[in-house]
Assembly symmetry: C3
Homo-oligomer: 424 residues x 3
């Protein structure tokens, strides 16, 4: 992103190349990957600006001019509904003297007027007015910087990279199939929670991608999610969960509901195509939804006509997730804030016409994932603390962490490629 990135490149390249070369295979990363500010700069370029990132739910910007501010690693982008209903992502930095243009976290704006000298930008970022500029000043060259934005199934995605964005069409088709029945585009936000984990973003993602820790850390989640959480228990429950999934899939397919899964992530995603995964699995038979008592906490979403007790899981890249139950869905995104801090955002959705207080209580909708995320925050904070130790050294991944391991391997491959490209 920065013009100055090139400056330190010699030393940094050597640092990164050495680090990558010393990294043992199949193990957790070397300490600097989890704390060094220089690595975060590479992460931003290589891991986070190379794919589409979930920014939020479309209902936050229904009308032209509606906007919210998206944050990543100290950056702010204004995600705004344009005059024709399109979505723009504008870098929140005035082209005059660099001030934040928008100081509110969300709102509606006819135009963005910089609070400093009143330079005024249209909803698409074009510079409309700037007083007292010399005759040769070219407004056309002083629009706000922009990122790419698009909308899929009511989800707004951003691409922050400089070049061509990866092809989102395959992921979009899969999301239409798996999320379509939930009609997320017409859903409403029941609850939203934003917070900080005191850990490097990769530790947060490593945590979210495996359920090897579920049995010990998430009793509530584990009770409700046999397919995901019992897989590596060594007491036979893993086998019974497999059978549960097979039986449920057969039964639910007969209802005409989506089943199965598509997984095109890491090594499986073709070059230039956005990696993603979609799948449907059953909850424990005692739970018709992912809730405290197993009963629904909101009306059926979208086109669904009967409860089937399933969980739809969607993943775009490694930082954006959707989990949809029959009665609610939750959007989950993680974005790095500093080398040792990561923002999380959970957005719970229910059917657009459900009435708060009558048809649903926000705290009930949010209960399971709020509980689970609080547990994960504690765990990952403790993970970061240990990783900062002089005695920390990479450890071996278990067979219960295949996605975590493949995330790390894919991350390292991209990084290696980027370092080699920069050196050439």
């Amino acid at each position: 992103m920065s013009n100055d990135a090139a400056l330190a490149s010699e030393d940094e390249l050597r640092f990164m190349a050495d680090l990558i070369q010393r990294q043992p295979k199949g193990q957790t990363l070397l300490q600097p990957f989890y704390c060094d500010p220089r690595v975060l700069e590479w992460d931003l370029e290589v891991a986070l600006r190379s794919g589409w990132l979930l920014a939020g739910h479309a209902s936050r910007i229904r009308e032209p001019g509606d906007y919210f501010v998206y944050e990543i690693a100290g950056e702010q982008l204004i995600v705004v509904r344009g005059d024709e209903g399109e979505v723009h992502a504008l870098v929140n930095v005035c082209r005059h003297r660099g001030s934040r243009v928008c100081l509110e976290a969300e709102g509606n704006a006819k135009a963005f007027v910089c609070p400093y000298h009143a330079w005024t930008y249209a909803r698409d970022g074009a510079l409309r007015s700037a007083r007292n500029m010399p005759d040769d000043f070219d407004r056309g060259r002083h629009a706000l910087h922009r990122a790419q934005a698009c909308e899929v199934e009511g989800l707004i995605f951003l691409y922050l990279g400089d070049g061509d964005a990866p092809d989102l069409a395959p992921a979009s088709r899969a999301m239409a199939e798996f999320l379509g029945p939930h009609a997320l585009a017409s859903a409403q936000i029941a609850e939203r929670e934003v917070g900080v984990v005191n850990a490097n973003w990769k530790l947060v993602i490593e945590n979210f991608l495996e359920c090897y820790h579920c049995a010990s850390a998430h009793p509530e989640y584990t009770r409700r999610n046999p397919v995901t959480a019992w897989h590596y228990l060594e007491d036979g429950r893993g086998e019974s969960a497999k059978q549960l999934a097979v039986d449920w899939t057969k039964r639910v397919a007969q209802l005409g509901h989506v089943v199965g899964g598509i997984y095109q992530l890491d090594g499986d995603a073709p070059e230039g195509v956005q990696g993603f995964g979609c799948s449907r699995v059953p909850l424990d038979p005692d739970f018709i939804s992912q809730t405290r008592d197993g009963k629904p906490v909101a009306p059926l979403m979208g086109a669904l006509r009967v409860f089937d007790g399933g969980e739809t899981g969607v993943q775009v890249g490694h930082t954006s997730f959707v989990l949809a139950y029959n009665d609610y869905a939750v959007l989950i995104r993680f974005t790095p804030k500093t080398p040792l801090e990561t923002l999380y955002e959970f957005t719970w959705l229910v059917a657009g016409d459900a009435r708060r207080g009558t048809d649903y209580e926000p705290a009930d909708v949010a209960w399971l994932w709020r509980t689970t995320n609080d547990q994960d925050t504690t765990i990952v904070n403790a993970n970061q603390q240990g990783v900062l130790s002089r005695w920390y050294q990479p450890g071996p991944y278990s067979e219960g962490e295949p996605y975590t391991r493949s995330f790390i391997e894919g991350y390292l491959a991209r990084l290696r490629q980027a370092v080699e490209a920069r050196r050439a």
Copy 2:
């Protein structure tokens, strides 16, 4: 200042030379100038230790032994009235083991006794006593380090540099002419406010040196200061303000009051002479003073016998300012604290014999500049945030920011000169 400054000089010189070389002309500075700790070190040497800095009002140290502590970039100097009424500026670092010698922010001291081992220093910094030192210990070589200090029109200025201080005589003569009628030396402090802007000191100064932002950011100030604030409005008000100034100047000169201005800053100040500016302009005719309702908030100051509705502006270097109205004056100084923090100090003065609560209310005296500074703090904080973005790039100055632009150009010229001198 530091003996260790030489250490990193090779790398730093290359870093600074490269930065200066890449800086585009006539635009805001490249990002590292606004945040990098290495630049602040250069700033301290080049921009802040090369001229006289306003430390405070003389009334804070009326009697021998009266002192206050002046802070800049983590440094502390004890500004103290000496035995003969002279002013000393003593570095607050014991020559024994480096302790702070004075732990209070202000007070009166017969001598400065280090709280650690009781080494005792006179008001001029001379080491008076130190127990248990070997026979060859030379007290004369262990006085507190000192900066130069002087007093002009009741204002105490410090020079923190190592060599000869720039000649302050021309500035002193101008201050005598422009501030003399206000008799600041016999004034009293009505109110004082110290705070922090979360921004690099140069962003704070850039803000203070231009009124291009006044119309959008300072409605109260703009309403009262047509000459300064309307200049670049494109609605004809600029012209009417010019006429107002011409008419007022003619009328007020007939009263025998000072009018006009002297400007010897940036390129206009001869080598070795302290840069400064002085001027007088009218407020809006509805306002006899820079106050909420336009009426005076305190008695006439000093030798003034009639209200003339003028504003006297004085600037010494780029970080020290005085604004004087008929009934009050305000001293304004900005000092860097860290690369991303700047201290401000506003000191409001009224006539020495005015009675608090009867002749003036501190909050009324402080109202306009407190309001304006609060607005500026918000603005400059937002400016710094945007400047830290990876997307930030230098932007063009408008025709409404000539002094800001010239400050930056002068700053760059000094820096370039210093880097070249160090390289040679």
Copy 3:
């Protein structure tokens, strides 16, 4: 400690060698020694991992499984009583993905179960269980990292280095002689206080090793400790204190109590042997114990049968101290936290069978050293602030600071040796 330490070694070696070479002899250290993070890394290797460190009192872990967490420079070691009564020091970093294994500051544990994935370690750090590991996984190679631990006179010491620990036998014999009569192993903790000084650990130690500052900074301590505190007063009191010590020693020896001293620190400790010092001196005759009113605040400790008004001082290395009076003892330890922060821990002990509230009041027992430490904290904070100044330069040690000076000289000698060894 770190595998990555080698990385920056070229630059660091040059930095350290240059710093050591520029250090003036017989004066306080150059600024970077007191603040630079690179120096702290060397300090950890050279000064802090080369000797035994006091961790705490044995009564904190009386039963198998009892543990407390010891902190140093961001590291945590679990100090735990093993199954056979032995003491283990386990690095609090899981060998799987690096999480903290133990999140509590103290407690009792049958085993340490990592809160993340439930890897389970025995009290000696051995890995007991880890689910879902591949067949070739070797539990024996994934025990928790360990430090050496031992117990002397009820004091638990740790050795954090990689190689052979220095021989603690001479220090142990001396401690048996000087502390034995107090029976610290059977004592109970009356009070404990942990806090932070905002200063580099070496400034904290420099402070603790000299009483040149006592007269000016510690009136309470000075009143009670003529032998230590009056030594360098220039009013004749030093001589009278010497006589007091001579007389007391003669008298107390006749009681069969230990007198005199052994000092094997700095240059006096043979290579490979743990440096230490032990001594006994009298308090002021008005004070039978180091208390507010001079009267005892608890019953006689251990084997003592009569009060003799003495103070037993023990020092192991430069960061661990014991001061024992007839009725109480205090363990004092300092550990670096960051380059500019140091943890202190004071543990006051009384006889094991004394009854709280009846035989002693914790606040009375703690009064003198709490008061003195609060004063030192203020002093050392002010010392660090001054040392951070650009104007700070090394100053001369007085004749009242011989142990401080010798600590610094020994520190520099070790550092020089380590840098030369690494270069060769």
